[in-house]
Point group: C2
Chain length 216, copies 2
Amino acid sequence: MPDPADALSEHAVERLIAYRRHLRQRLMQGCDRIYSHDLAKPEGVTPAQVRRDLMTIGYTGSPARGYDAKGLITHISSLLDARSVGGFALVGVGHLGRAILDYLARQHPEYKVAAFDVNPDKAGGVTHGCRCYMLDEMKQVLTQQSMRVGIVTVPADAAQDAATRLVEAGVCGLLNFAPVRLRVPARVYVENVDIALRLEKVAFFALASRPKETQE
Amino acid sequence: MPDPADALSEHAVERLIAYRRHLRQRLMQGCDRIYSHDLAKPEGVTPAQVRRDLMTIGYTGSPARGYDAKGLITHISSLLDARSVGGFALVGVGHLGRAILDYLARQHPEYKVAAFDVNPDKAGGVTHGCRCYMLDEMKQVLTQQSMRVGIVTVPADAAQDAATRLVEAGVCGLLNFAPVRLRVPARVYVENVDIALRLEKVAFFALASRPKETQE
DNA sequence: GCTATACTGTGAGTGAATTCACAGTGTGAT
DNA sequence: ATCACACTGTGAATTCACTCACAGTATAGC
Ligand SMILES: NC(=O)c1ccc[n+]([C@@H]2O[C@H](COP(=O)([O-])OP(=O)(O)OC[C@H]3O[C@@H](n4cnc5c(N)ncnc54)[C@H](O)[C@@H]3O)[C@@H](O)[C@H]2O)c1
Ligand SMILES: NC(=O)c1ccc[n+]([C@@H]2O[C@H](COP(=O)([O-])OP(=O)(O)OC[C@H]3O[C@@H](n4cnc5c(N)ncnc54)[C@H](O)[C@@H]3O)[C@@H](O)[C@H]2O)c1
């Protein structure tokens, strides 16, 4: 109950993740203190929003010195990474699936990742440094490696099946790329990334007569 | 000024796109009339939200018969597609870029798509039914084919450059997959799809002790 | 040491988006 | 023909996220 992490809204978590990424970048450039507006501008939010977020997670800076970059990263991480996810299980080693596997292998070699596909040519092999299994091995693999997050990159008509299998294998979070709303138990968190929808959205707003847009 | 399309919020547009997709699916199944709750449940919104949205775009159903699927699709499309986007220009023919090119070629052969890459091995060729050009051909190609939307799938450190080139070539909308906030003129609409962030977000909420979540 | 400054922390205010709740109504059943 | 029902359309209420604005304060400069 007293865990502040439980009070974070989805938006707040997204911003905290972005702040942390930005802070790490700054830190590598040798910048160890940072003001709310330094964090706000590149992320497209207001300084007040940043301070509010940091207040929410209980991190305190100092006037005239701002926030300590390293300490803030640690603080954010202690909230976000408090509970280890074990690893990721990706279903559907197609174009998008391979792109993600490749990304994870290159950028996050620390994550454990397992891949699954119906296609027997893919199952059994190793793609982008990640072992690819057959679907019926899912439960065993996930249990053994205690993976709690699933990634769905199968065609739309297979997405529900993939999700159901992942849930049965024990995941409690899903990142879904299929243009379908998945039906899962309430305890399972689902995040939809609908690329086709986003594309249509951009097409719309690109040509909408946008009024008094604020300057960046 | 009286164009209702200008009054649509980002969220509203996203929902309308989802409604339309769902309606098309229903229509193919031979269902020509639909109630607000039929549209709401699979999209994860409330029936009231659906009615409010349709009211906003000025579409009227009838009690006891609901909305006419075909007419509603037409109505939504008349708002969303009012202004033709010409086509899409994708920069960065890597893993993700190829996945998107492939998707567009298969699912949306009606869209014109051009690809661009620094890598001379890629430029000049044809990937997934889409001609790949060199960067310095961008302005010419986009002007000629009147493409108004850019897709950025280059590494983070090349994203700003890609965006700047696209804007100079005349695009007024960007779909950005790089984990960077792009700096562009205010008239240009930017939509960020931050896959890595979404992945971290799922990992967090998967393990957050979720309170009184509503049942699906 | 003292002061001016530029920041943080936060209560209050604002505005947008969503939901509630119900009056109004066309339809299918009888 | 009549009625009961289940739906729509929508003003009002609510929720939520964000922004404002300013008091409080640690620092750097003098
Ligand atoms: N690639 C994109 O840019 C893009 C854009 C928009 C949406 N999407 C969505 O993302 C998803 C994946 O797209 P993609 O381009 O990678 O498709 P793809 O066809 O390249 O890959 C799909 C993979 O899933 C596997 N598969 C099929 N049925 C399966 C099942 N029942 N269980 C396990 N694996 C199965 C196939 O063998 C294949 O390897 C689709 O739902 C698509 O609509 C992709
Ligand atoms: N693949 C994923 O699942 C994934 C996940 C998270 C984020 N992203 C982001 O998406 C972007 C693309 O990822 P990817 O996996 O496709 O990378 P990738 O390395 O496979 O592809 C990058 C492509 O961009 C080209 N390129 C490099 N510099 C360029 C320039 N200046 N102009 C034009 N083209 C250039 C390269 O030749 C290459 O073809 C990256 O910003 C990455 O951070 C991808």
